[in-house]
Symmetry: C2
Amino acid sequence: MTVTPDEYSLLTDLYQLTMAACYVKEGLDTKRASFELFTRKLPDGFGYLVAMGLTQVLEYLEQLKFSPEQIQYLQSTGIFDHVSDRFWDTLLDFQFTGDVWAVPEGTVVFANEPILRVEAPLWQAQLVETYLLNTINYQTLVATRAARLRDIAGAEATLLEFGTRRAFSPQASLWAARAALAGGLDATSNVLAALKLGEKPSGTMAHSLVMAMKAIEGSESDAFTAFHQSFPGAPLLIDTYDTVAAATDLASKVNAGEMELSGVRLDSGDLVSLSQQVRSLLPDVQIFASGDLDEYEIARLKAAGACIDGYGLGTRLVTGNPVNGVYKLVEIDGIPTMKQSSGKSTYPGCKQVFRRFVDGEIQSDTLGLVSDDFEDSQPLLQLVCQNGKNLQLPETLAAIRHRTQTNVASLPAIARQLQNPQSPPVMVSESLQKLTLKEEGRGKKGN
Amino acid sequence: MTVTPDEYSLLTDLYQLTMAACYVKEGLDTKRASFELFTRKLPDGFGYLVAMGLTQVLEYLEQLKFSPEQIQYLQSTGIFDHVSDRFWDTLLDFQFTGDVWAVPEGTVVFANEPILRVEAPLWQAQLVETYLLNTINYQTLVATRAARLRDIAGAEATLLEFGTRRAFSPQASLWAARAALAGGLDATSNVLAALKLGEKPSGTMAHSLVMAMKAIEGSESDAFTAFHQSFPGAPLLIDTYDTVAAATDLASKVNAGEMELSGVRLDSGDLVSLSQQVRSLLPDVQIFASGDLDEYEIARLKAAGACIDGYGLGTRLVTGNPVNGVYKLVEIDGIPTMKQSSGKSTYPGCKQVFRRFVDGEIQSDTLGLVSDDFEDSQPLLQLVCQNGKNLQLPETLAAIRHRTQTNVASLPAIARQLQNPQSPPVMVSESLQKLTLKEEGRGKKGN
């Protein structure tokens, strides 16, 4: 089961289409609506998020359309038997005609700050919710983790994305690789992702090669020699049987001038003690570590004096608890709206995030209305799509990675720390506070 | 960034291809190898896994090939400059020619039990590792969660898959929908997934419709009437402002004979008390609940006397910590192999799982060699692909769901409980114990 871009119109929750049909029947479909995408709360242990996935959002909006076959399928379900014919005409003629405001990929954001806003005819703005959340939620999660890993490991460390076997579907592995590289990692082992991203794939070797060659040819040492001859730049994996014995064997080859070894990888055991022993045996060789590593474990290894130059990151980079972004109606036909459900209320109106820096460091953000104006603050949301036309110039991964790095560097230390991080203050502007109070009053009336 | 089946040959870790090239150079590529896929440990809090994803594995193996353009890309990376020309011929001529043994989808398995075994020329069996782990790990996770949800919610509850917005990429949402339905859920809200799976999509309505109509037309009540006219069978979402007030309004319409309401959905607040109040107001209406629900929360709601007939399941079904399946070489050229890395050692040799039932309940499993034979035990792994040819007849989702249900029903209660579940005993056969001891001895020699 794969999905191609021409199938994305149906890659949505059924209710987006039933609500669209209802809007058409009620004559509300063309009313101008604004929806904002944000998270109410950062994932546990995170002090910031790195916004990612806008490129895929804009590609999606430009290509989105319904084929006659897709419309026929919807009709065949029997679900839409009571809707007006104008709904089907609306789908057939559809292309996205709205505007999108968004923060650039690689921008750090905090809870309640819009990552993007869609302003479009109501039914269009509604329809795209599911895909927009899907792409932004996941890529933002992986980019944030990558930024944290880079922040902890340091600029000199080599950070490799090895998550494909644990990613949640093949496409997830591609998106994870993109977000990881944009968030601060150096390379991915995923060959297809590297091809699509214009990057060079990276990798070492697996235990199976050592096991197979040892079984047939008699020794781990033969396996190292064979693999090194074909791939002299690839690190050798030395923990299949006895790490120190393997390193001793390699050291004798290196010292005898038989092998120009560039790197080794450790995937098990006490990485602190083993890496120190390997460093003393192979002082000029890069040492890579892997095996369920994350930023907390890297911090622990560094503090304990491990001699590790690079890390392979997989499971804990590409799986786990998600970023729970939501997409909420904030204005319809010029009227601000807010959700008031218990524990899930939102701020009404079209908003902007105003960021204030002092000496290059983020001092505070103010969540305000687009009509607000603050001197010495930088508005984060930019117009990136107008009347359905993508205004963004394509950006390289390197450019996004650089923006991520600059953004993370501008965070106060307390937002970057691993233990109990805290976001900088996000204040609510006076005009937004007033509007919120007013709308809360309106919501309680006229049920 | 999407992926199509003809791109799957590059959807792999670089090292699978570099190792393949090394095997070719060493003349080992055609040696017969066996790899087994299993998990060393179940995810925390799980007493069993429901194996899922075999259908996608077999499709992949049948379609796998390298195009001249893909080979050209690999050559252009410069990584393969030292390999023999025979490697490129091998890729160009490649189609999968191996055998696959596997447990049927929907079978419950425990730690260390192979979900599948690939027996193929070494380089082929190696190459497919990344994709096989990717599909089996994720679908097994979602199917297991779905089975647990069904087990706790009971046969009568309606369980709907709503996870697309939180899934890790569009394709992940398709795979999640498939695994969720095969594992015990009733329907998915994902329209494309439903189309591909031959199912009818399902859904309710969102807060935005209520908010938009209330802003323009003046009341939540008008929004309900409008949506109900177009979609009389769809549940109405009643928690946007005041749940009890909304239910009271609907009850007056129902009691006046103005509306034949089939269901309502609650997405926030105290679901126990609200569902009880709604039940007393709307006694004949189905009540659905949603909002970060999982099997633990459903158990809590039921125990507390909530009046809920159906659940929408999203975030906690389709994201989270993964099933950490691994894929390990167990035999090469007739020689059993085992990995002996610290804390990560494996059992050598081609294995079978022998399951013993007493009165329809799983008593114990024995992990043995394929040459073992136990009376009154059922071997779980079956030959599903021979010489590259898929032997499986296509199965309906309903058939797999039925197998899942039967398998879960055959588990002892302690494996099904949510608090500290325990798998039935998995014993190791005498012959496998002997082989393991022998191979441990061999591994320590001849480094």
